[in-house]
């Protein structure tokens, strides 16, 4: 059931999810905050929680945040829909794409 009690907010910046955090694995070490070239993230005010994606519109999709994460699975790269890739199975000719 759709919520009826909603606030008036402007269009949010999008794409806005260059990465997806897994809060069960991420321990809020903020290594990703530190290695980011453009400061996309800020540390979460609550210690031990995943960082907040503050400037997704500046993301370079450089990937250092994911590459350098010390806890595998805590942070996953998430390409914007329009940047997802296509490929084709050579044997069957079936066209495939990144539907992760």
């Amino acid at each position: 059931m759709a919520q009826k009690n909603i606030n008036a907010i402007p269009n949010i910046i999008s794409p806005n999810t260059p990465v997806i955090f897994n809060p069960d694995i991420c321990d809020g070490c903020n290594q990703c905050v530190e290695v980011c070239q453009v400061d996309v993230y800020i540390p979460n005010p609550e210690k031990g929680k995943p960082p907040i994606i503050l400037h997704p519109d500046e993301c370079w999709y450089g990937g250092c945040c994911v590459n350098d994460c010390p806890r595998p699975g805590a942070i996953t790269f998430n390409w914007p829909l329009q940047q997802r890739a296509y490929w084709k199975d050579k044997a069957t000719g079936k066209v495939l794409r990144d539907s992760y």
């Binding site: 980011c36 400061d39 997704p56 500046e58 993301c59 940047q83 490929w87 990144d98």
Partner: protein
């Protein structure tokens, strides 16, 4: 819950700024050598200066551990003719690079007198980048196939375990480029900086240079900056400074919400170095040159600027029916050429319309020998800049290069408009010490005119660092002008004193639009004049309305002012060159003759008492490259043994 608006929804308010806000704090740092920019060139400059036992300070806008164009990784150590497998002489190869445009390959077939190469930088790279590479290994960078992962790959030498690349080496004729594991480099460089006692300031943007007495054109005696998380004001006082800043990939285009920044460089690379050198009075050259961004209209994340997604080295392109395209093989037979000749490109384009070639095209990974596929997918694409995360994402999504053809986006995503440009290839005039025309100011890496790749940045950084250190050992500290500091402080902090007006994105889009209209494909004196008028109006009317909410947006705002100054310098340089040039991608409608001999020269611009002065230097102003390199480096000791 990791997105900003999720936080807002949950807490009913925005998160507090996570760092102390210290606009009113001021820090003074005294050093012998100040390095501005902590990318590849900057790290190497800091390391080589610190080896001389002097005080070195490195200032970086991001975090030195992964900042810069080569921060995420790098797969090629280009142009290393002193490597043991090389079939070319280093001094001869430096001449080739200088006389034949296309330093990153494929090189132009024949030498030209109108090449605009940087003979000094090329000579340094060819003489010293093998030593630099060995030092990279000493620090922990991986440069050889020590785990024997790629035994049997073409170009792998079993004695040294070096992996030679086909780039500029058709049929193994040069063996001058080495494949490397570049994702290991940047953290190792930062570690070495720390080990040598380099004083590193991360997240600090340098905004301008300080000159003796505050006079334009005088000796550089320090720099001003601010912390882009806290807003703290920083005054750096130095005996010598190395400008190791990046190019500028944002001047002609702002693209944020469509798909994020994917212009081959991040938004932090906004021409700050060129702008501060220009304002300090350094003589700049080739500012009129521009490149095409080569982004398709799809804004898709390309492997590599302009190369097309699957068209990396060694991969045969085929059409949708599996028919081989007359595209270069991109391996040893073609010397790693990534693009077909224009006439072949055009014939493919026509063949699409007639049905000869069916879209889309694909990179035929499965057709490659297993070992070559592994080299390309895992080593080349796995180690190069931003492509490591891309290959990992493909792997996760089920792409298997042994079975799958990778789609190529040539043609179907359209062509980058000629109004979307880069400023690459311009910078300060340098001498054989990599000193600019200002005493105390050295330059390295991409900030040099006609710069090369990663190994060029590394070797010129290493060189500029030792020359700056030598100068710092000979001179006294000069006084910093309090008035210059106060003026810069007022300029930097103006946007945070406003809470309304125009933000950095709108300002950048406005500046970019001016460049698109008046300084792109169509250039005439009157259009360029209109461009200068337009930027002047932006400076006088709109910049005083610029506002920033926090230190981060303040950085973006001050970067806009770098873009503006850079744009002005480009327009002045474009007016000064009264001829067209193929190499510079510079075409004047009012001076249509392409590369007339009398204009085969470096046109220079500089500010003197706020007025633009133009000048010129002959194409080979550096003289005999080999003789001058040797004359200036009698004390060079080769690979570091410290």
């Amino acid at each position: 819950m990791t997105k900003w608006h999720d936080y807002l929804k949950k807490n009913g308010k925005a998160p507090p700024w996570p760092y102390a806000v210290e606009y009113d704090k001021e820090q003074e740092i005294e050093t012998d050598v100040l390095v501005i920019g902590g990318g590849i060139a900057g790290c190497w400059a800091a390391i080589s200066a610190a080896r001389k036992g002097i005080r070195v300070t490195l200032v970086e806008k991001g975090n030195t551990i992964r900042s810069g164009a080569g921060g995420p990784g790098c797969d090629h150590w280009c142009n290393v003719p002193a490597n043991p497998h090389s079939k070319v002489d280093p001094d001869e190869w430096a001449k080739v690079l200088t006389e034949r445009p296309g330093v990153l390959g494929p090189l132009q077939k024949d030498p030209t007198k109108c090449s605009y190469g940087n003979g000094i930088g090329n000579q340094i790279q060819c003489r010293e980048d093998y030593d630099t590479l060995l030092e990279m290994e000493q620090m922990g960078g991986k440069i050889r196939d020590t785990n024997d992962e790629y035994v049997g790959a073409e170009g792998r030498y079993d004695d040294t375990k070096f992996m030679l690349s086909p780039r500029v080496s058709p049929d193994h004729s040069t063996e001058v480029v080495i494949r490397i594991w570049g994702t290991t480099f940047k953290p190792a460089l930062k570690e070495e900086c720390k080990r040598l006692g380099v004083n590193i300031y991360d997240r600090v943007m340098v905004t301008s240079l300080l000159t003796e007495g505050g006079i334009q054109g005088a000796r550089v005696v320090g720099a001003i900056g601010f912390n882009n998380r806290t807003g703290e004001f920083m005054v750096f006082k130095s005996k010598a400074a190395v400008l190791a800043t990046a190019g500028n990939y944002s001047l002609w285009m702002l693209n944020t919400e469509l798909a994020g920044y994917n212009t081959f460089r991040s938004r932090t690379m906004t021409g700050d170095g060129a702008a501060m050198a220009w304002k300090a009075g350094a003589e700049l050259t080739l500012m009129e040159r521009s490149g095409i961004l080569n982004l398709g209209t799809g804004f898709k994340h390309t492997w590599y600027g302009g190369a097309g997604d699957a068209s990396y080295e060694n991969i045969q392109l085929v059409d949708a029916n599996g028919k081989k395209l007359p595209w270069p093989v991109q391996g040893w037979p073609d010397g790693g050429a990534m693009r077909p000749a224009p006439e072949i490109h055009e014939s493919i384009r026509k063949g699409i319309d007639t049905g000869e070639w069916a879209l889309p095209f694909y990179g035929d990974f499965p057709a490659m020998p297993d070992i070559e596929r592994k080299v390309t997918w895992k080593l080349m694409l796995g180690e190069e800049s931003t492509t490591k995360i891309i290959t990992n994402t493909y792997n996760r999504a089920g792409f298997d290069p042994a079975k799958h053809l990778l789609q190529n986006y040539q043609f179907i995503e359209g062509t980058s408009p000629s109004q979307w440009r880069t400023t690459s290839g311009s910078g300060p005039i340098v001498d054989w010490d990599l000193k600019t025309t200002l005493d105390g100011l050295y330059v390295a890496g991409e900030q040099m005119f006609s710069a090369g790749d990663h190994s060029y940045a590394a070797s010129t950084g290493r060189y500029a660092g030792r020359k700056a250190a030598a100068y710092a050992g000979q001179v006294n500290r000069a006084t910093v002008s309090k008035e210059q500091v106060a003026l810069e402080k007022a300029r930097i902090y103006a946007p945070i004193k406003r809470s309304d007006g125009i933000d950095w994105k709108e300002l950048q889009a406005g500046i970019s639009r001016t460049m698109q209209y008046f300084c792109s494909e169509f250039k005439t004196e009157s259009l360029l004049d209109m461009g200068l008028d337009s930027l002047k109006e932006i400076e006088e009317v709109f910049v005083p309305r610029l506002y920033a909410f926090d230190p981060h947006k303040l950085m973006r705002s001050i970067e806009d002012l770098s873009l503006l100054a850079h744009g002005q310098a480009i327009l002045h340089a474009s007016l000064a060159r009264k001829a067209s040039s193929q190499t510079l991608n510079f075409f004047r409608i009012d001076y249509p003759e392409v590369d007339p001999p009398e204009w085969c020269k470096f046109v220079t611009i500089k500010l003197e008492n706020g007025k633009v002065k133009t000048g010129e230097l002959p194409m080979n102003y550096w003289g005999d490259m080999k003789a001058n390199y040797e004359a200036h480096n009698k004390d060079y000791t080769g690979v570091y043994k410290g």
